[in-house]
């Protein structure tokens, strides 16, 4: 799982860029107060699902297919329910393996 960059990484730029925006002010408050930010995960899979981005990117599956049109969103929200049916439909459509162990290792 990719990790979230540390808050000081945000501050490098946002100390100058849109420093007054309310959401940025919140980030700055966390940084100045030495309080870790608790990011809310928008996309999450249960622990018994093994998912790897690398293979999907290698097959040129567009990001939007799962994550929705994130490039147009101000606040990212979930557009698809990440259910087993959602995964299987796409696997069948692209002739990807549908063996149980593909995801449930």
């Amino acid at each position: 799982m990719a990790s979230i960059p540390s808050a000081d990484r945000c501050v490098y730029c946002h100390d100058y860029i849109k420093a007054d925006a309310p959401e940025i002010v919140k980030v700055m408050d966390h940084y100045n107060g030495d309080k870790p930010i608790e990011w809310v995960k928008v996309f999450d899979l249960p622990d018994h699902v093994w998912f790897n981005h690398k293979r999907h990117i290698a097959k040129d599956v567009p990001c939007q297919k799962c994550h929705g049109p994130v490039e147009t969103m101000d606040v990212v929200s979930r557009t698809n329910e990440f259910s087993m049916g959602f995964c299987l439909a796409c696997h069948q459509e692209n002739e990807a393996p549908t063996d149980c162990w593909t995801c449930h290792t």
Partner: protein
């Protein structure tokens, strides 16, 4: 279990885990406020160039620092001496920065021993002493030409009664003096091992001690593997198979003190070959005739008995010396350790001169690419940072001890050297030191010398402080090494030279700079105009930063002019130098020659408090954390001892006991003992580990240079009580001899 039942079982396990994982884990991800930089990732951190100060070779190094902590020391690839390599001692230096026994506060000796005093008081005390001493003081360091020595020289150098002494490596002044008649000025010999096809090492333990093990190690690599079709061949002559000798192709166990005789005998055959083959050298034939006349006495048939080897072996050295040109002869510790050291060095340099002329005739001389030599600039840099190489060493130490005995000095500063431990018992340094009213020890650790001092000043580690250094290697090539603080001081130390500057200013003495950093900048400015290849468009400040990034200045590489043949007058008169005086020994009535030697880890004893260095197995014996005496198995059998049995070694000056390590690579009449063990006051890792071989040595000196003849000692060896388990890693004769691989 077959595949089907395996899958069934796995399915049960998998469904169980699904039931257990029904509740979701946290949907929040907590990120760091600031990314940790813990140095675990090798790409993290900043590399700084500086100069290693573990010995005086002056290797350029780069240091990786993470969060203000030094993590790793490596060689600086662009530096002409280290050539991208660093030795074990250099790499272990990070251990000494964070050593729990580092001195943390200045201490003044009172009635009840040392007492902590603040830094302000330390400066007051020293400045008061400076005023009272009126120049009657000495400065003693390990032979380094550096900022500290330069600063002291500039403050006190012109005062009557001031003495600046270097307690340099044993034999250093002989190396400088040897062969001086053939070179245009006294300097260290510099045979080109990189391009040699054949090399004779006359007791030269160049890969483990001496002026620069790292440089010579690089040269050895070039000699062996640097060329596609040539594998350089090396022969080692000397009384012990050292770790340098162990990588050579042939070892000749020559009796102690006879290496000059061997060199002259080889020279006799070489001159004969030149005459009989009518090689057209630029040397005048008259000179060849004169030499042939003088060298007649050194005919292999005549000296073979003295050298305890068949005469044909000498021919086996001389013939490839001509045929496999370019060839070189290198002299080292087994030559300079005897009273006839300089005479033998002259003989070895004579061989090198012949080799050069033969190579020139055969068009086989490779003029190596080196930084441009500039003897004048080199000398001026040396003098700006202390005293000339010729003025350092044991001869000066004797002068110092005499002066202390006569009460010439009311004050002394001893910086980063431990003469109470590493000078021979015969010099009686400790007694003389006690006659000086006030001595200051500038050190990182408490050691035998600091314990005798009146005031102890904890100095910065070399990774924490400023300095500028002139390496005692490469000969003739001017190098100005810069040492910069790569980390903040770890404990409350001050730069020793800063304290001297502050105290001198308080005593109203004229000081060259307000701080060491300013002094270093001043030296760069002073020599800038003469620095070849220095970018002219930079201001002084930017230029200084530019040099710091490189680790210092050395002139850019050029293709050297061929070395000129020495003038006829030198060649003709050189016959006077061709002599091999008999060696003399202290305690000549004793049966065994004592062969003290430096190991690559302990040095002169400064490495003994470093756990990494103690843990590193000795290259020959593979012993760790342990002291030993090497003797031939035949000698051991005669004494009735086996590996681990204790023996007592004694001379008129003292005695030590040590466990025996039988070793075939040593003459039966020689016992070898490593230097650097047997500290009495150097922290818990070093104190009490082994015994100090220097306590056995008398004060015999080289008859020409005055260097300490540290191998001119004979001793008694007898069986003592007790045994010790020898913690060796493998068998010195190779792993097939070891227990693990024994069939």
């Amino acid at each position: 279990m077959d595949r089907r039942s395996f899958l069934k079982l796995s399915g049960v396990a998998a469904s169980a885990s699904v039931v257990g994982a029904c509740s979701r884990t946290s949907q929040n991800v907590i990120s760091f406020v600031e990314a940790p930089n813990d140095g675990a990732n090798p790409v993290d951190g900043d590399w700084f160039a500086t100069t290693c100060r573990e010995c005086n070779a002056g290797c350029g190094v780069i240091v990786r620092t993470v969060n203000g902590r030094a993590k790793k020391i490596e060689g600086n690839a662009i530096h002409p001496i280290s050539r991208g390599k660093a030795c074990a001692r250099s790499q272990a230096a990070v251990q000494t920065v964070y050593h729990p026994e580092r001195l943390t506060t200045p201490m003044l000796k009172g009635a009840g021993g040392f007492e902590s005093i603040g830094w302000d008081k330390a400066v007051d005390v020293i400045s008061q002493r400076f005023t009272e001493a009126e120049g009657k003081l000495f400065y003693l360091n390990n032979g380094a030409n550096d900022a500290s020595s330069g600063i002291v020289n500039e403050i006190f150098g012109k005062m009557d009664g001031f003495l600046n002494v270097g307690n340099s490596e044993p034999g250093f002044e002989s190396l400088v003096a040897g062969g001086a008649a053939l070179a245009d000025s006294p300097r260290l010999p510099f045979p080109d091992l990189d391009h040699a096809q054949f090399a004779i090492l006359f007791g030269a333990d160049i890969f483990e001690s001496g002026p620069s093990p790292v440089f010579w190690g690089g040269s050895f690599g070039e000699c062996r593997r640097g060329r596609a079709s040539v594998r350089g061949r090396l022969v080692y002559a000397g009384s012990r198979l050292s770790s340098t000798a162990a990588v050579c192709d042939l070892w000749l166990p020559v009796p102690p003190g006879k290496l000059g005789l061997l060199a002259l005998s080889v020279a006799q055959v070489v001159v004969d070959i030149i005459i009989s083959r009518k090689l057209a050298l630029t040397i005048p034939r008259n000179a060849l005739g004169r030499w042939s006349e003088v060298l007649k006495d050194y005919d292999p048939e005549k000296v073979a008995a003295q050298l305890e080897m068949p005469a044909e072996y000498i021919h086996k050295l001389a013939i490839p010396f001509v045929d496999e040109s370019p060839s070189v002869a290198i002299a080292g510790a087994d030559v300079t350790g005897h009273v006839n050291g300089v005479a033998a060095l002259d003989a070895v340099e004579f061989l090198n001169m012949l080799s050069y002329e033969i190579g020139r005739e055969k068009l086989r001389i490779h003029e190596r690419l080196t930084p441009e030599p500039n003897e004048g600039l080199k000398r001026r840099i040396t003098q700006a940072l202390g005293v000339d190489h010729e003025a350092q060493g044991y001869k000066r130490m004797v002068e110092l001890v005499d002066g202390m005995e006569q009460g010439k000095y009311s004050m002394g500063i001893i910086s980063h050297t431990n003469p109470v431990f590493d000078t021979p018992a015969g010099l009686k340094f400790k007694d003389a030191m006690s006659k000086v009213g006030f001595t200051v020890a500038v050190a990182n650790f408490m050691d035998e010398t600091a314990a005798e001092a009146t005031l102890v000043l904890p100095d910065h580690h070399w990774l924490e402080g400023w300095s500028v250094q002139n390496p005692n290697f490469v000969p003739g090539v001017p190098v100005l090494n810069l040492q910069q603080p790569v980390i903040r001081p770890f404990v409350d130390t001050r730069s020793g030279s800063d304290i001297i500057l502050a105290a001198a200013a308080a005593a109203k003495l004229k000081t060259p700079a307000a701080s060491t950093e300013e002094f270093v900048q001043g030296k760069v400015k002073q020599f800038r105009a003469e620095m070849l290849g220095a970018p002219a468009y930079l201001g002084d400040e930017e230029f200084f930063r530019h040099l710091l990034r490189n680790g210092g200045w050395w002139s850019s590489e050029i293709e050297n002019e061929p070395t000129p043949t020495p003038p006829d007058s030198v060649l003709w008169e050189y016959r006077d130098k061709l002599k091999a005086p008999e060696p003399e020994f202290d305690g000549a009535e004793n049966p065994f020659y004592l062969h003290p030697f430096q190991t690559v880890h302990m040095g002169r004893g400064q490495g003994a408090n470093n756990g990494w260095l103690q843990e590193a197995p000795d290259p020959i014996t593979t012993l760790m954390w342990q002291f030993w005496v090497e003797m031939n198995p035949a000698t051991a059998a005669k004494l009735g001892v086996v590996e681990g049995d204790m023996v007592k070694i004694s001379s008129a000056h003292g005695s030590i006991t040590a466990p025996v390590f039988p070793y075939k690579g040593i003459r039966p009449d020689v016992v070898a003992v490593p230097i650097g063990y047997g500290h009495t006051n150097y922290g818990k890792l070093a104190t009490g580990r082994g015994e100090n071989v220097m306590t056995l040595l008398g004060a015999k000196q080289d008859t020409d240079s005055g260097a300490h003849a540290w191998r001119a000692q004979k001793v008694k060896v007898e069986k003592a009580q007790g045994r010790m388990k020898m913690l060796r890693n493998a068998h010195p004769e190779g792993e097939y001899k070891g227990e693990v691989f024994q069939l």
